[in-house]
């Protein structure tokens, strides 16, 4: 059975003409690392909230379809069960803080304390989250005085400390500089293999470091679902999100007619060297 399953979800915001999600279906397995790509206003945040069980909520209901985890639709989960199962980290860092902590350390400890875990367990979780998100040196700071990028890492640390089975991240690296981004991706990659991570991104490079399965969200549906190579080479993806720098270089060479027939465009530096050698030989 799929871990999280979306079935024929049709959703529009009240008063909006066009639907944001137009009969979307998709399933995620345990331990998958998935990147869902889409340009601005394509519905990333909306889909993320549905996956995390934050919708349906009040007047925001689907006209058709539903989302379930472990075969049980989200509305049947209690808030506490859901908190242990899935953590969602939204796009605006300052809105992810509880406002119930005077220090970064307490902010991360807040969730585990609410679960009434033993003190030693709480501390172990906080230390681990501090390390993963590179926040050790900020442990004593007031969360609201952190920079945007620091707040972003803090909100992810707080989510990790809940030790969910699924982590849903809405543009988690948007406020990070390239170096912290690479560090952060490497750390996420090192998280326990059983953890399912779903990231929503507009940027290609960070997604490549993290996910093995890629999707493109377009006009309310998942239009491509597969390996990074198939998704990033899809015309619609290139049109809306562009290419990685390496792919762009290879693409220009191909446009100039000097790229070998049948050789795939490289996406990352790791495979590029080989591809460019072959191209030069041809």
């Amino acid at each position: 059975m799929a871990l999280i399953k979306v079935e024929d979800l049709f959703f529009r915001y009240p008063q909006a003409k066009a639907p944001v999600l137009d009969g979307l279906s998709v399933a995620f397995e345990q331990g998958e690392r998935v990147a869902i790509l889409a340009p601005n206003a394509a519905g990333k945040t909306t889909l993320a909230r549905w996956l995390a069980g934050l919708y349906p909520d009040g007047g925001l209901v689907a006209e058709r379809g539903h989302v379930s985890m472990d075969g049980k639709p989200w509305p049947q989960w209690s808030a506490a069960e859901r908190a242990a199962a899935v953590q969602f980290v939204g796009q605006v860092p300052s809105q992810q803080l509880t406002g119930c902590a005077f220090t970064v350390y307490e902010e991360i400890a807040f969730g585990p304390c609410n679960l009434a875990l033993p003190e030693g367990e709480v501390r172990a979780r906080v230390e681990q989250a501090l390390a993963v998100c590179n926040l050790k040196h900020l442990a004593k700071r007031d969360p609201f005085t952190l920079s945007g990028g620091e707040q972003q890492r803090l909100s992810i640390a707080a989510a990790l400390a809940m030790q969910p089975r699924v982590l849903i991240l809405d543009e988690p690296t948007s406020n990070l500089d390239p170096e912290s981004r690479d560090d952060f991706i490497a750390q996420l990659d090192a998280l326990p293999a059983g953890l399912t991570v779903i990231v929503f991104e507009v940027a290609l490079r960070p997604s490549l470091g993290l996910a093995r399965r890629f999707m493109l969200l377009d006009e309310g549906r998942i239009v491509v679902d597969g390996t990074p190579e198939t998704v990033l080479a899809h015309p619609r993806c290139i049109e809306t999100l562009g290419m990685t720098a390496v792919a762009r270089a290879a693409f220009e060479i191909r446009e100039a007619g000097r790229w070998p027939e049948g050789l795939a465009l490289p996406l990352t530096l790791a495979v590029a060297e080989q591809s460019f050698r072959e191209a030069a030989r041809a």
């Binding site: 934050l54 406002g99 005077f102 009434a116 033993p118 004593k140 609201f144 707080a158």
Partner: protein, 264 residues
């Protein structure tokens, strides 16, 4: 992370001054009840008593290493009040015992006495509160409430004004800057500033309301109130002596308030 949150954090601590005095080391509940006892004493003592209380309180604040801050706040708050009450009750409000002073000026001894009584009473209560907030970190109050088994909903309700001051003042600054960039006049006359007030307050309130929504969803996702009690980390230490001291102070406070009522 061995010590308590007290000496560690920054802005939100407000008037708190890190230190290692007796009151800094005391359990926050002990300090709280000590403050309440002082306030109850200030409510019933005559002027001479409240004056002694102020002097003793200020002396105590110096002994606890928070003297300058307590004294400064006390003077800034009380001086205008003292002058206003002395003038109004001593010279302006008509009383039967008016005595000529110089020229047409007359004054009333009972009026002055009354003003002194009110000022010293408020002053003593303020001294008590100032000693409390300068020696007790708000985070530690929260922890000791958690530790006592006070329901998380209640203790965070109490602490939220302190916790939210920082994000709120940040937000207010951002709104002011944004409005100014769009030509709102905040620099010239008082009237112009007054007229600008709605433009600043309305977004602040709207945003606060939308924040409530976000915060409720975040608190849910962190399992807030999922269990009856929370784990308390770095709990402020407590001991039997302090437990008994608190009981004695509570009984004293109630007796102080009750006995004068029975007397009458």
């Amino acid at each position: 992370m061995s010590s308590r949150s007290g000496p560690q954090s920054g802005q939100t601590a407000l008037l708190f001054l890190p230190g290692d005095s007796l009151l800094h080391r005391a359990n926050p509940l002990t300090s709280l009840i000590f403050m309440l006892w002082m306030i109850s004493a200030a409510a019933v003592l005559p002027t001479i008593g409240t004056t002694i209380l102020i002097v003793a309180g200020v002396a105590l604040s110096f002994a606890m290493g928070v003297g300058p801050r307590v004294t400064k706040r006390l003077v800034i708050t009380m001086l205008p009040l003292l002058v206003a009450l002395l003038v109004v009750h001593g010279f302006l409000v008509s009383r039967p015992d008016f005595i000529p002073l110089v020229g047409p000026l007359t004054y009333s001894p009972t009026g002055l006495e009354y003003a002194a009584q009110v000022v010293t009473r408020i002053g003593a209560m303020l001294t008590a509160s100032l000693i409390f907030v300068t020696t007790t970190h708000p985070g530690d109050i929260l922890k000791s409430l958690d530790q006592r088994g006070v329901s998380p909903g209640v203790s965070y309700l109490i602490a939220s004004p302190l916790l939210l001051i920082e994000p709120f003042s940040e937000r207010a600054k951002a709104i002011r800057d944004a409005q100014r960039a769009r030509g709102l006049d905040l620099t010239s006359t008082f009237k112009a500033r007054f007229k600008a007030l709605p433009a600043l307050l309305i977004p602040l309130i709207t945003l606060a309301l939308s924040d409530l929504d976000h915060r409720a969803s975040i608190l849910n996702s962190r399992a807030f109130r999922a269990q009856k009690h929370r784990t308390v980390i770095d709990a402020p230490p407590d001991d039997r002596f302090q437990v008994w001291l608190r009981r004695v102070l509570i009984v004293l406070a109630i007796a102080q308030l009750g006995i004068p009522l029975l007397w009458r």
